[in-house]
């Protein structure tokens, strides 16, 4: 993707409405903002290196690293491009990914999170002050003093509950309207009942007021709610922001004039120009030009495919060597890429039927709590012969004591601790239930190109070739953006004098070295017969052609990961759309017993669905469009950040860095967190078993309620923090 195509994607949020204008009005100077994701930053040293390194570049006004979000916000004067900055950071040793500023502006303001935090702060203030007054009452304040303290407590508690309890009231009302009994119904009921009874008791000089319980309940539950929100917000924003990796703009040819337009404005019949290195934004037929296209993201083929006039290309493919002009046959929602994404959406729906542990607990819990409270009310009405005040007090006490304080914290606390750990390891959890599903995994299915390998070839036989030939080949290769040529130029540093170098798109590079014509490229073009291995051929004059063989570079950590998974007794499969020799070679290198080559996208999805139907719990790791069906069909799925949009959307977890090893951390941490969640349920249930009978017989006091509530919430949180 070329530099100019990026301008639109990284313009400031304010300019989002007017594509083309990429400046913010800040005085007379141009000031542009870029936000980059930096999965590798982790310490104070990283912050200074990145900030100093960026500020040393000309044109950079300001750079600031946010370590929590692992991103850098950079202001520059418009002379820098995103590619520049990424290259500069790479030189400093940090991987960087561009983020979509438009999506950022909607996630970064995070209004909901801030509102929750505000309510949390207010209820904390109220809780502490009321507790201060309550302690006096508990330790024996009587008569007028007690009534006064109750009144002050009420004056603090009522506004607090009305303000801070809104999230619960709203969601309880919504679930009642939908005819369900969610977790928020007993919560709201407990808060409202506790407050209103306390008001009544206060004005009748009663002994017990539950203002502290009402506020404490609000505080602890808001805490759980906030943690939950934060985990989800991080996941959501990650998914949205990474969406920007797609081509937002395209070069269109109208009446012989090239024009940059947004991809969304393209229609069937338009002529689109794609420069070497650019990603194809639409489906189309080549009208002019010859080139090679990289289809690895779509089909898993690791080798580029030659293309020319009359050949069809699809959105998402990358044009490598020559300039191409296409006639659009499908744009926007009709492209094969978008259609596949839709298929994924359907498969996603099916998977969303998974019920989380928390939901299952809530479903069992809510009715039980209500029945218990009503029974207590009825029984005490009967025993006391109609003492309404006493019976209501008992049933409120039951509701308050059983209120799922710890239950509300049990899952969010663990999930937050776990996703924080995984985030630091370079993994983003997109789905709330992903951890739970990950914990059940017993089969792992890998894609090859771009997942276990980097999709970047590595020369194998360089040392066996004469230095002279190597230098010639490298010199020729240096001008091409073909992946094999680039790998060769990168691996061989020696250069020599070659004249009249030119690239013949689709075939190779030729030139003149010491008077003899030299060619580097396809076997047939240089007059050789190709073998089974991936190779490019060099021919000097009329000498015999020399093959340069390549193998796809392994993703760092791939070997350890596969070995680790097998050691844990998991079944590991390798599915690839690539040719058999390449797949077999990789399977041997990683000693993966089960592999299949040249498998179609439908085949992958069917294979994974088959495993799931057998009752296996499948983790699919893939990056290509040909994997999306399988990613969506699997129990849980992971894709690298370099994957196509559709693949990232379909997966539950995104791997931010290049290293794939964190996947095994994810599996380990997920199993641990599910264990912790279950323990937490057991803890909160245990407290209820002790406290409920006490409340039922009418011995519950506000002090007991406060103790039970805070101790259970704190134990549950501490238990979550034990996660290693």
């Amino acid at each position: 993707m070329s530099a100019t195509e990026y301008q639109g994607a990284v313009a400031c949020p304010g300019c989002a409405a007017t594509p083309g204008a990429a400046t913010t009005a800040s005085g007379a100077a141009r000031r542009e903002e870029v936000v980059l994701s930096l999965p590798g930053v982790h310490c104070a040293g990283c912050i200074s290196t990145v900030e100093r390194g960026l500020k040393a570049l000309p044109g950079i006004a300001d750079a600031r690293v946010n370590l929590t979000m692992k991103r850098a916000r950079i202001h520059h004067d418009g002379t820098r491009t995103v590619e520049d900055l990424i290259a500069a950071l790479e030189k400093l040793g940090y991987e960087a990914l561009p983020l979509d500023m438009v999506a950022l502006s909607s996630t970064e303001t995070d209004r909901v999170g801030r509102e929750l935090l505000m309510r949390l702060g207010v209820s904390f203030f109220a809780m502490m002050n009321i507790m201060l007054l309550s302690v006096a009452v508990w330790s024996g304040a009587a008569d007028a003093t007690r009534d006064l303290f109750h009144m002050i407590s009420g004056a603090i508690a009522l506004p607090t509950v009305i303000f801070a309890g809104q999230p619960f009231f709203k969601s309880a009302w919504a679930s009642l309207k939908a005819g369900r009994l969610g977790m928020d119904v007993p919560i709201s009921l407990a808060i409202i009942l506790a407050s209103s009874i306390s008001v009544y008791e206060t004005f009748n000089s009663g002994h017990h007021a539950y203002f502290d319980a009402a506020v404490m309940l609000t505080f602890f539950l808001l805490g759980g709610r906030y943690l939950d929100h934060r985990t989800r917000a991080v996941a959501r924003s990650a998914a949205q922001e990474l969406a920007a990796l797609e081509v937002p703009r395209a070069m269109v040819l109208r009446d012989g004039v090239e024009e940059m337009v947004a991809v969304s404005t393209l229609s069937v019949g338009d002529l689109v120009v794609i420069r070497p290195g650019g990603r194809v934004p639409v489906d189309g037929v080549v009208t002019e030009g010859a080139s090679e296209i990289d289809r690895s993201l779509l089909t898993g083929e690791s080798l580029p495919v030659p293309t020319g006039p009359g050949k069809a290309v699809a959105a998402g493919e990358v044009n490598l060597t020559g300039r191409l002009t296409l006639r659009v046959t499908a744009a926007g929602k009709d492209t094969s890429l978008a259609r596949m994404a839709e298929l994924v959406a359907v498969a996603e729906e099916a998977r969303n039927t998974y019920t989380s542990l928390a939901d299952r607990a809530a479903r069992a819990y809510s009715p039980l709590v209500h029945i218990l409270s009503f029974t207590a009310f009825g029984v005490w009405m009967w025993i006391t012969g109609g003492d309404l005040r006493f019976a209501i007090n008992i049933s409120a006490a039951v509701l308050i004591i059983t209120c799922p304080c710890a239950l509300g914290l049990a899952v969010p606390a663990v999930v937050t601790a776990a996703s924080g750990k995984l985030f630091r390891a370079g993994l983003l959890i997109k789905s709330g239930t992903a951890l739970e599903r990950l914990a059940t995994v017993d089969t792992v299915v890998f894609d090859k190109t771009g997942t276990l390998t980097l999709g970047r070839p590595e020369p194998l036989n360089l040392p066996g070739i004469a230095p002279e030939s190597r230098a010639v080949a490298a010199t020729l290769a240096a001008i091409s953006s073909h992946p094999l040529a680039q790998a060769l130029a990168e691996a061989e540093q020696d250069r020599t004098q070659v004249e009249e170098i030119r690239e013949v798109p689709g075939y190779g590079i030729e030139g003149r070295w010491q008077g003899t014509p030299v060619r580097l490229g396809r076997a047939a073009w240089v007059g050789a017969t190709g073998g089974a291995l991936t190779a490019t051929w060099l021919r000097i004059g009329s000498d015999a052609p020399i093959p340069f063989t390549f193998a796809d570079r392994l993703r760092p950590g791939a070997e350890d990961l596969v070995r680790g998974l097998m050691a844990q007794g998991m079944e590991v499969h390798l599915l690839s759309g690539d040719v058999a020799p390449a797949v077999e070679d990789l399977a041997k290198r990683l000693s993966i017993p089960h592999w299949q080559a040249e498998i179609l996208p439908e085949g992958k999805a069917a294979f994974v669905s088959g495993l799931v139907a057998e009752g296996r719990s499948v983790l699919m790791v893939g990056d290509g469009l040909n994997d999306t069906g399988a990613l969506a069909a699997a129990t849980v799925s992971i894709s690298p950040a370099s994957a196509l949009d559709a693949a990232r959307v379909a997966s539950d977890i995104v791997l931010m860095g290049q290293d794939i090893a964190p996947v095994s951390d994810a599996l380990r941490i997920s199993r641990q967190s599910v264990k912790r969640i279950r323990e937490n349920f057991a803890i909160s249930f245990g407290y209820n078993i002790v406290a409920v009978p006490v409340a039922l017989v009418g011995l519950a006091s506000p002090l007991l309620a406060a103790l039970a509530m805070s101790i259970s919430s704190i134990t549950v949180t501490l238990n979550a923090l034990r996660l290693k």
């Binding site: 912050i47 200074s48 801030r114 002050n129």
Partner: protein, 63 residues
């Protein structure tokens, strides 16, 4: 017990002060990067003079 008439308002007032400080810090976006803040204390980059302030990117909370 008359002292309560002073002590209670004082304790409430102090609590309110804390709440106000919290509201201010929240609106000044001081919770945006807790990890970074704890790491930055170790670097001596802005020991002599404070860093130029980040321009507010959120129009709702001009600080």
């Amino acid at each position: 017990m008359e002292v309560l008439a002073i002590l209670i308002p004082v304790s409430l007032g102090l609590g309110l002060l804390g709440l106000l400080a919290f509201v201010w810090s929240l609106r000044a976006r001081q919770y945006d990067d807790p990890d970074g803040d704890s790491a930055r204390i170790l670097s001596d980059d802005y020991d002599d003079a404070p860093a130029p302030r980040d321009p507010p990117s959120d129009p709702d909370y001009p600080d």
